[in-house]
């Protein structure tokens, strides 16, 4: 007994040491890992909510979810996917990769980095806890339009507001850290126009974050004061305007959707040249196009609001500005194709996901162009056509981008090659499932099915069933992805320093797995690449 008790003490202190290590770490690689695991965990939670939604929509009638619960699922699915999955996923990639790609020893502000991560688990615990509260979780859609979220919001709305504030603080701190790191810690010789595109897109994303997250904080605060402190920002009865909510929200919201996609552009721009074994076509125009998209994202918010009774002049302005986004986006797509053109391509899993990203994102871009035309938007607005559109840009865009990046850099992070055969199975099932889930939504939308409805008329039944079957398959592919990642962490073929034959850049000059501390002295740039990649 005595011996046993004596053994237990070091055991317990080892556990504490382990917890303390992850709680107090200031290492960019460990924090990157934390972000990625948080994102992955929330991906399963928000994905499970999507399963509830698709299960309920499998057939007409009410089967699994009462209307109020359904609305909670729709809301939480959107909020968590946007703020809990895509954003932390990209921040995790930034944490791991930006110091490695610019030859920095760590992020510029390591303690701030720790703090900005550790806010998030608490923010999402707070948000998720609202599911178990009296009156249920927020049920007004992730866009929380007033007065549904103000006068009519459930009591848990206040927890949602506080959660959003915490996420906003985390994002702004993370963005500051990324900007400071990129501006100050680049290795000598790496001028701004020699930075890898992933770094460029994240720099621009970080500026977008700093500009719009305070706007979101402002609008949730106005909702809070409307709810509890007698203000009437969004209530006509007190001289306010519910439509002003939408203006402020979408002034945040539209740059936000570019926050969710620009790092994906950067990832595709890293991966495609590697596997085409050819330099990225039009590096300069890629940078300018990204900056142009970021600028335009601030002057198109009104296209979310064409049915709110906007004056003609405003409708025309927002229509033209929105159509203009197609130009820099087109430049990017053309550049990717030109990079592939006359290259010498192989199709490992990261390349497959990157090509899937380009094609399916472009389809989402096409429907975005169609949505820009105001007269047609009167028919598309608030239907499943819109749901199809933004899932095409976000799933094969942001999520495929993150998966491509994971396969691409996982050997560098873990020191092991992932299972190529399983990776390919993952890609092909995901592509089939994504299209099976989201393509029929174009048809139900055009036929007149509004979004965010728990039950629908019989004419929409067939395509909804197809979507639900696709969604089930899509859910299963994520389990496979989890398995592949864990398998790679635990072992596998040893990865070389360069990992990929055609890979260029500083991150491929450090050993695999990347040591705890890298680039303690600034590396030479441009680097001399070893010839050991696959």
């Amino acid at each position: 007994m005595v011996a046993h008790a004596a053994d237990a003490i070091p055991q317990r202190s080892r556990v504490w040491a382990y917890i303390a290590r992850w709680l107090l770490t200031t290492n960019h690689k460990e924090i990157g890992t934390l972000y990625l695991w948080l994102s992955f965990t929330l991906f399963f939670i928000a994905g499970a909510m999507a399963m509830v939604i698709r299960l309920e929509l499998f057939q007409p009638g009410i089967q699994f979810a009462e209307p109020l619960f359904y609305n909670q699922m729709v809301t939480m699915h959107g909020l968590i996917m946007v703020f809990g999955v895509v954003m932390p996923g990209f921040v995790g990639l930034a944490n791991w990769q930006i110091p490695l790609m610019i030859g920095a020893p760590d992020m510029a502000l390591p303690r701030l980095n720790n703090f900005s991560f550790w806010i998030l688990p608490f923010a999402f615990t707070l948000l998720l806890s609202s599911l178990f509260m009296e009156g249920g979780a927020p049920n007004f859609g992730w866009t929380f339009y007033a007065p549904l979220s103000t006068t009519y919001g459930p009591p848990s709305t206040d927890f949602f507001i506080f959660g959003v504030h915490m996420m906003g603080i985390s994002s702004v701190l993370g963005a500051i850290n990324i900007i400071v790191t990129i501006f100050n810690l680049r290795t000598p010789g790496m001028t701004l126009m020699k930075m890898p595109l992933f770094v460029w897109t994240w720099l621009i994303t970080a500026f977008l974050l700093i500009m719009v997250m305070p706007v979101l904080a402002g609008v949730v605060t106005m909702v809070l004061t409307d709810r509890h402190f007698g203000t009437s920002f969004f209530s006509a009865a007190g001289g306010g305007d519910p439509v002003m909510f939408q203006h402020i929200f979408w002034f945040f919201g539209h740059p936000e959707v570019y926050i969710l996609i620009l790092p994906g552009f950067g990832i595709a721009s890293q991966i495609i040249p590697t596997f085409a074994r050819k330099k990225l076509f039009g590096y300069h125009s890629m940078v300018y196009a990204t900056a142009a998209i970021a600028f335009l994202s601030f002057i198109v918010w009104g296209h979310h609001m064409f049915a709110t009774g906007m004056p003609l002049a405003a409708e025309l302005f927002f229509m033209y500005a929105t159509m203009l986004i197609a130009v820099p986006t087109g430049v990017k797509v053309f550049n990717w194709v030109a990079t592939m053109w006359r290259g010498s391509m192989t199709f490992e899993t990261p390349m497959l996901f990157a090509i899937g990203f380009v094609i399916l994102f472009t389809i989402g871009g096409f429907s975005g162009l169609m949505l820009a035309l105001v007269p047609a938007d009167f028919q598309y607005q608030d239907t499943f056509f819109v749901v199809a559109h933004f899932h095409y840009v976000l799933y094969p865009g942001a999520i495929f981008g993150t998966m491509a990046a994971t396969y691409y850099w996982l050997p560098k992070w873990t020191g092991h090659m992932y299972d190529e055969r399983l990776g390919k199975i993952h890609f092909w099932t995901a592509v089939v499932a994504v299209n099976l889930t989201f393509f029929p939504m174009h048809f139900t939308g055009l036929a007149g099915m509004p979004r965010r409805i728990v039950d629908y008329s019989l004419q929409f039944a067939d395509f909804n069933m197809v979507s639900s079957i696709g969604a089930g398959l899509l859910g299963l592919t994520q389990v496979l992805f989890l398995y592949i990642v864990i398998k790679t962490i635990r072992g596998g073929e040893k990865a070389s320093t360069r990992v990929w034959e055609g890979a260029e850049g500083l991150e491929w000059t450090v050993p695999s797995p990347a040591p705890h501390h890298t680039f303690e002295t600034p590396p030479q740039f441009p680097p001399i690449m070893q010839r050991d990649g696959r």
Binding site: P60, G61, I62, L68, N71, E134, G135, N139, Y145, L148, T151, Y152, S235, A276, R277, K278, F281, G282, S285, A307, T308, G309, L312, E315, L316, M319, M323, A326, V327, G330, V331, W341, R342, G343, S344, M345, I355, I359, T362, F366, L369, V374, P375, A376, F378, Q379, D382, F443, L446, A447, G448, P450, V454, D455, S457, L458, A461, D462, M465, V466
Partner: protein, 377 residues
């Protein structure tokens, strides 16, 4: 299982339709053509932008797939090393701009017409509330509520679903053919959106503000749509049904509505003068309750959590009568409990309050007469 089979079957049907009838195929996959000039022009705009996208897609993805095929390592082992060309970049910036201008021109002319709300022949004020529409004919001074008519049994899968499941209402909006009809939209609570795809009219109904839209419908018929903006729990159960009649029939219908209003006010006087029995009021009250109240408070009055309080044994239905009458007639500000005084007759209000005070073990034995309600108005 049968519906999975039916999905497969309709998949086959699509393939067959592809070969036989383009119209039927388009009906399943395409934007609705609708019946108005505007809806058809919008469909043409939709087709134009869709084809631009398809052509661009074929060119871009065609180049990409050719490259994937011809420039893979096994066929093309030595990569080229070009990586910029100002001329090419300028070309693929300028050409999209020209295409966009070509798309913007018809979109702009159509939009300018859509926004021309002048010279209407008839104006209907559409006031939304959770979860029904109120239609007010401003010139004729007639108004009524329109709400979902699909029985709960169908929604809860206890009865087979009808042909117009969730797209049927008790009182459709009646409109004449070939008149320029102006819609004014407003809301009593949250934002709703009034949408009829066949007219290509979708306009948000915003509390405190009035929006405008218009249509001109050439063909009589029944047209169905839905609320398009998330408006709370029963957002899915807020259909729009419009019945379009030839002008002469429409005028007759207006006259009939006016007559009905006179009769109703005569009925109201008769209701007030009569002294009703408990059995009569309980019977009417149960009907009113199931139609209007049960969606939130549940058919057996148990409610749903704190959002929709229980009425069985509830504080209000078993408390002072005056407070109960006040709550039912005037609602509770800031909640989904609406003011029912403008929506129900004295008889219906008296009956439903009587019912709530005496059903599900609420044994107050209070009997409320329509004249009490009349006095409280």
């Amino acid at each position: 299982m049968t519906s999975i089979a039916s999905t497969l079957k309709s998949g086959l049907v699509f393939l067959v339709l592809w070969g036989t009838s383009r119209a039927a195929f388009a009906a399943a996959l395409d934007l609705r053509e609708g019946v108005t000039d505007m809806s058809q022009r919008i469909q043409a705009l939709h087709h134009m932008s869709l084809w631009v996208c398809v052509v661009m897609g074929v060119i871009v993805f065609g180049a990409m797939f050719y490259s994937i095929f011809a420039h893979r390592r096994s066929k093309h082992p030595q990569p080229a090393d070009f990586h910029e060309s100002t001329a090419v970049e300028v070309v693929w910036t300028v050409i999209p701009v020209l295409i966009l201008v070509g798309m913007a021109v018809p979109a702009t002319t159509t939009l300018i017409e859509i926004e021309d709300n002048s010279d209407a022949d008839l104006t209907v004020l559409i006031t939304a509330s959770q979860w029904k529409w109120h239609y007010q004919y401003l010139e004729a001074d007639i108004g009524y509520y329109s709400k979902l008519a699909t029985p709960t049994e169908q929604i809860e899968n206890r009865a087979p679903k009808g042909e117009n499941y969730l797209l049927e209402v008790d009182n459709p909006l009646v409109l004449p053919t070939n008149k320029k009809i102006r819609f004014l939209t407003a809301s009593n609570d949250v934002i709703h959106s009034w949408w009829v795809p066949d007219f290509a009219v979708k306009q948000d109904a915003i509390p405190g503000f009035i929006n405008e839209a218009w249509t001109r419908i050439p063909t009589p018929g029944l047209y169905r749509g839905q609320c398009a903006e998330l408006c709370g729990k029963d957002h899915a159960y807020m259909p729009v049904v419009v019945e379009v009649r030839p002008e002469a029939e429409f005028d007759k219908w207006i006259a009939g509505q006016r007559l009905a209003r006179e009769l109703a006010s005569g009925q109201a006087v008769a209701d007030r003068n009569k002294t009703w029995t408990m059995a009569e009021l309980m019977q009417i009250g149960e009907q009113v309750f199931l139609t209007h109240c049960a969606t939130c408070h549940e058919p057996n009055g148990v409610g749903q959590g704190t959002t929709y309080p229980a009425l069985a044994g509830g504080k209000i239905p078993t408390g002072p009568l005056e407070a109960h009458i006040d709550r039912v007639m005037n609602g509770k500000a800031g909640t989904e409990m609406q003011a029912w005084a403008p929506q129900l007759s004295d008889r219906e209000l008296a009956a439903v309050i009587t019912y709530e005070r005496n059903a599900w073990g609420n044994a107050t034995a209070d009997l409320i007469q329509p004249r009490t309600i009349y006095a409280a108005r």
